[in-house]
């Protein structure tokens, strides 16, 4: 009975000894080397598998075994198996932030609009691992000397923000930075819709010449050239409509001659003044 017990105990011990886990650290920072002890005598084959890594090499048991930092640059779980000794695993975690992938949307926005600019930043280390630990990220939007700054904490490698566009149009510099990493994008802020359109009319050789005053948005920015303005003339004969594009800040059109017409103007949803044209004036 005691012999059987001894044999069983020996077999259990032998099995446990063979399957003993390697003593590996729980985590290693990306790019750092790792050393560990592989107990025993003689040579054995070591296998390491991990993200971007597959190593097979001879190691000497009883001596320290090392895996270089260059072999441990990708974040994730690594498994080490040494033939006849055992196996274990450890995690490589991302190194400090080294680069940012920055999405700034949209690239063109109306001025003086609430929460219209979106910035999303993804944080990576120098080895292109996502830095999942919380990091402060500064978002900075500057245009015409005015700067708005907002700091957000990243979560799972991502941070995002929404910002208002500034009152004045211009090319806004939108910068995301964290630690030594910084990325700049340009967001073109353009005038919003026309705020108040004013026009005047005068007789012309072949009709009525209508022309706007300089068209601006509510913040005083000139509405971009190419924006369409619609002139409409209504008289006893019917209605005439002319679409004209703003050119150098103003729009103009030639309407059919009439002795008694009502002339109106609109751009998008904005309606301007109305002129009653009577007796050629």
């Amino acid at each position: 009975m005691s012999v059987q017990f001894c044999v069983l105990a020996f077999l259990c011990f032998a099995a446990l000894a063979y399957a003993a886990d390697l003593h590996l650290p729980a985590t290693v920072t990306a790019g750092n080397a790792l050393t560990f002890a592989a107990p025993g005598n003689g040579d054995a084959t070591m296998y390491v598998s991990g993200p971007g890594t597959a190593i097979k090499r001879k190691v000497q048991l009883g001596r320290e075994v090392s895996i270089s930092g260059d072999e441990l640059k990708n974040a994730g779980r690594y498994t080490v198996a040494v033939d006849g000794v055992g196996s274990g695993s450890f995690f490589v975690t991302a190194a400090p932030v080294g680069s940012i992938a920055f999405l700034a949307r949209p690239s063109r926005v109306p001025a003086d609009t609430h929460d219209v600019i979106n910035g999303t930043a993804f944080l990576f280390d120098r080895y292109q691992n996502l830095v999942t630990s919380p990091q402060p990220i500064k978002f900075e939007l500057s245009v015409n000397g005015q700067t708005v700054t907002r700091t957000e904490m990243s979560k799972d490698g991502v941070a995002y923000t929404k910002l208002d566009s500034s009152k004045k149009e211009g090319a806004a510099q939108f910068v995301a930075s964290s630690g030594p990493a910084s990325v700049r994008r340009v967001v073109q802020e353009v005038a919003s819709d026309a705020c108040d359109i004013r026009m005047h009319a005068q007789p012309a050789q072949n009709g009525i010449l209508v022309q706007t005053d300089p068209v601006r948005d509510c913040a005083g920015n000139p509405v971009p050239d190419g924006t369409i303005v619609t002139f409409t003339s209504t008289d006893s004969i019917g209605r005439s409509t002319v679409d004209a594009r703003i050119k150098r800040g103003i729009a103009q059109a030639l309407l059919p001659a009439s002795n008694n017409a009502t002339i109106s103007i609109a751009s998008g949803v904005v309606v301007g003044n109305e002129i009653r044209w009577e007796g050629g004036r």
């Binding site: 729980a26 084959t45 993200p51």
Partner: protein, 177 residues
């Protein structure tokens, strides 16, 4: 249940096997099925995930895992192009290159994914998932299994919208969420 979508429901061909034959890779066996992926979207921010997007992401993420499993088992980087892009594609290709040099390959037995969307960008072009996966992973040296483990692992996946599918841009295993 409204916000959970299981791709397994679409995998009615789960047990079938597809035989491919080509000059370079004759008689390679690819499982025609894709892993089971359950995707929960209720924690998505700052944008809510639309139903169609949820289905598309679950489908494409499952396909990506299947492609990865095939690629690292057969050491074929060409299998990655349809589902991976950027960093994820580069790192998997690097894995395969190193495996090929050392006659190693990895075999995944995928027992299912429980994923949730934790980030969906405002403009709808990027989505981050937290995925808890049950895997059996075998490391083989030629035909010899040198290590085998049954593990529950956690992945952070960053997916980006491509022309008509979602591709995996980052696939990174983490200790904890």
């Amino acid at each position: 249940m409204k916000h959970a979508f299981s791709f397994a429901a679409f995998s009615v061909v789960a047990t079938s096997v597809l035989w491919l034959s080509s000059a370079r890779h004759p008689s390679i066996v690819l499982a025609a099925s894709t892993p089971s992926v359950t995707l929960v979207i209720r924690n998505a921010a700052p944008r809510q995930v639309e139903d169609q997007t949820q289905k598309a992401v679950a489908r494409d993420y499952a396909a990506a895992w299947q492609a990865m499993a095939d690629a690292i088992d057969q050491n074929r980087p060409d299998l990655l192009a349809a589902n991976f892009i950027g960093t994820a594609s580069d790192k998997l290709a690097e894995t395969i290159q190193q495996q090929s040099k050392t006659s190693l390959h990895r075999r995944y037995v995928d027992k299912g994914h429980k994923a949730q969307t934790v980030f969906y960008s405002t403009e709808g072009s990027a989505m981050e998932l937290h995925d808890t996966v049950q895997l059996q992973i075998e490391l083989l040296d030629g035909d010899k299994v040198v290590n085998s483990e049954d593990v529950t692992v956690r992945y952070v996946a960053l997916m980006t919208a491509a022309e008509n599918s979602w591709k995996v841009r980052v696939l990174q295993e983490v200790r904890q969420f």
